[in-house]
């Protein structure tokens, strides 16, 4: 018994035989097994359509919005099966950042950061709210840029700032895990750089799983990497090992640009 408890604490996220299908009988993600440690950055790489976003979205039960999508297998978050938990709780524990910055257009910058509490009907006092907003914005290095324009709409910011605002919005709920679905693919190089620096900082406090089709980004940012191909998890190991000595031929071909 002791042993299992230890094991559960060791891994913050465990994927066991996870399969996702959009049409019955055809798995977009097929029998993925992987364990992710706390305070690491894990990159999921692979060519378009290999199921990397699909796998990521299984982790916060996003697929349940679409009844035709079926997820099987077990996903343990801190040792608890997420399918036994309330989906809303799962999504609070596993924050998500999307491909395109999507701040709520009707809300001010301040309200965007605090939106998670509002949508969960969690009541906070004014001082608590101010604290959450300030610390969240500070942790994404946006505080100094926006502290004088808190009441402006979130969409008033530049694309890169919007994406950092979205990260702050996810962090405000103090999640265990941060899921990022190609967070820089819609950003210019300078904004991309800032978001990458931010991810590096956030690693100290959060566990991050990031989907990327940018290999150099994966190499720069991540401790561990997964390579997915046609719905299968081909290889999973430390980023260093994967980029220097890939075990699988397909990983090697992908990394050397034989296909993309």
């Amino acid at each position: 018994m002791e042993n299992t408890v230890n094991l559960n604490e060791q891994y913050i996220l465990e994927l066991k035989d996870v399969s996702v299908s959009y049409t019955p009988g055809k798995n977009a993600v097929n029998m993925v097994n992987a364990n992710i440690r706390e305070n690491t950055v894990t990159a999921i790489m692979g060519p378009s359509g290999c199921g990397k976003s699909t796998l990521l979205r299984a982790i916060n039960r996003m697929h349940e919005l679409y009844p035709e999508i079926e997820t099987t297998g077990e996903i343990l978050l801190k040792g608890k099966n997420i399918f036994d938990m309330n989906p809303m709780k799962v999504r609070r524990l596993a924050g998500m950042v999307f491909q395109r910055p999507n701040p709520f257009p009707t809300m001010s910058i301040y309200d965007n950061v605090i939106a998670g509490y509002k949508l969960n009907n969690i009541k906070l006092s004014k001082t608590e709210r101010d604290e959450v907003v300030e610390s969240s914005l500070r942790s994404v290095a946006l505080w100094d840029e926006v502290k004088d324009s808190m009441n402006k709409k979130g969409t008033f910011l530049s694309g890169g700032q919007q994406q950092r605002l979205c990260i702050a919005r996810a962090l405000a709920l103090k999640p265990e895990l941060l899921l990022m679905d190609e967070p820089t693919s819609a950003l210019d190089p300078i904004s991309t750089n800032r978001v990458e620096e931010l991810i590096f900082e956030l690693k100290k406090e959060y566990t991050i799983v990031i989907v990327t089709h940018n290999m150099s980004q994966a190499a720069r940012l991540s401790d561990n990497s997964m390579f997915m191909y046609l719905g299968e998890l081909v290889e999973y190991g430390t980023t260093k090992q994967m980029f220097t000595k890939p075990k699988d031929k397909r990983t090697e071909d992908y990394l050397t640009g034989v296909f993309s």
Partner: protein
């Protein structure tokens, strides 16, 4: 040396064709504006004499008062206050009934586009839009006026609400469908329940569409006369009780039209009604522009 370009005959033909087409489009567009201005001109020309403050402060005159005024060659006394207040009362109740229902149905249609039930509701709502207003009026007469044993503002409101529904449903559905999926996903990814996300993210983001749609629906039914004739009936005094017969601007226009002594009042009251409707329309347009979310 500059060489002058010479056009081939095909190019010339195409340019001419394009010019003719452009001219035709401009002319036809101009022609569509003509009726509106002619109508406005006609109403202003005939109605300006009676278009005064009394219109807003006094109730409609009786046939006798008008006749006496005509004989002594003075302007017809009175206004259409009872019509204005009646229109406001009937519309207010119709809005209270139609907007919540319409928005909820619209959200349902936008969120479940593929369900059979949704398809069914959508076609029914389209059919509802095609039902002649007098038919809705007489049905409401059977449903409300007879059981309540009397004409009432409420019955009129229900008839107008039924007419407003399809427009509100459609505009809600369309404006919610236009929102990016990522917005809904962002809300849900923060752990919001479905209802909270709809109420606090989707509806506010679609607000300008909902608001304009509702305003256009209001302006559409504002001038309805036929369904009100058989439901609200009309009244000669200002009435704020929804269970009593109530007048409306459109009903007064009909009454004035039927009474030779009052016929002169048709123009000023029509002008007022038209200004109301145009005002709401212009307001809706400006709102749509101003609050549009990028």
């Amino acid at each position: 040396m500059k060489k002058k370009k010479r056009l081939t005959s095909t190019a010339k033909y195409r340019l001419t064709k394009s010019k003719i087409f452009f001219f035709a489009v401009c002319t036809l567009s101009a022609i569509t504006m003509v009726p509106l201005f002619l109508i406005l001109w006609e109403l202003v020309k005939k109605g300006y004499k009676q278009f005064n403050l009394n219109l807003f402060t006094e109730v409609a005159p009786t046939s006798m008062e008008a006749m006496l005024a005509r004989i002594s060659d003075s302007p017809i006394p009175g206004g259409i206050l009872n019509g204005i207040t009646g229109t406001l009362l009937i519309l207010a109740i119709a809005i209270i009934i139609a907007i919540p229902v319409g928005i909820m149905v619209g959200v349902y249609l936008a969120e479940n586009p593929k369900k059979r039930m949704a398809g069914f509701v959508r076609s029914l709502s389209d059919l509802l839009q095609g039902i002649p207003s007098i038919v809705i009026g007489v049905v409401v007469y059977i449903w409300i006026v007879i059981p309540m044993s009397g004409y009432s503002a409420l019955a009129g409101s229900i008839a107008l609400a039924i007419m407003m529904l399809p427009m509100i449903i459609r505009s809600t559905e369309e404006s919610i469908k236009m929102l990016p999926t990522s917005l809904k996903e962002a809300g849900l990814a923060l752990g919001g329940s479905y209802t909270t996300v709809v109420l606090r993210v989707l509806l506010p983001s679609a607000f300008s569409g909902l608001f304009t749609g509702s305003l256009l629906a209001i302006s559409r039914v504002m001038g309805e006369t036929a369904p009100l004739l058989v439901t609200a009936l009309g009244a000669s005094t200002v009435n704020w009780d929804a269970t009593n017969p109530t007048s409306a601007i459109s009903l007064l226009i009909w009454e004035f039209y039927n009474d030779p002594n009052l016929a002169n009042l048709v123009w000023s009251s029509s002008l007022l009604l038209l200004l109301f409707v145009l005002g709401i329309n212009l307001f809706a347009k400006s709102i749509a522009k101003k609050w549009k979310i990028q």
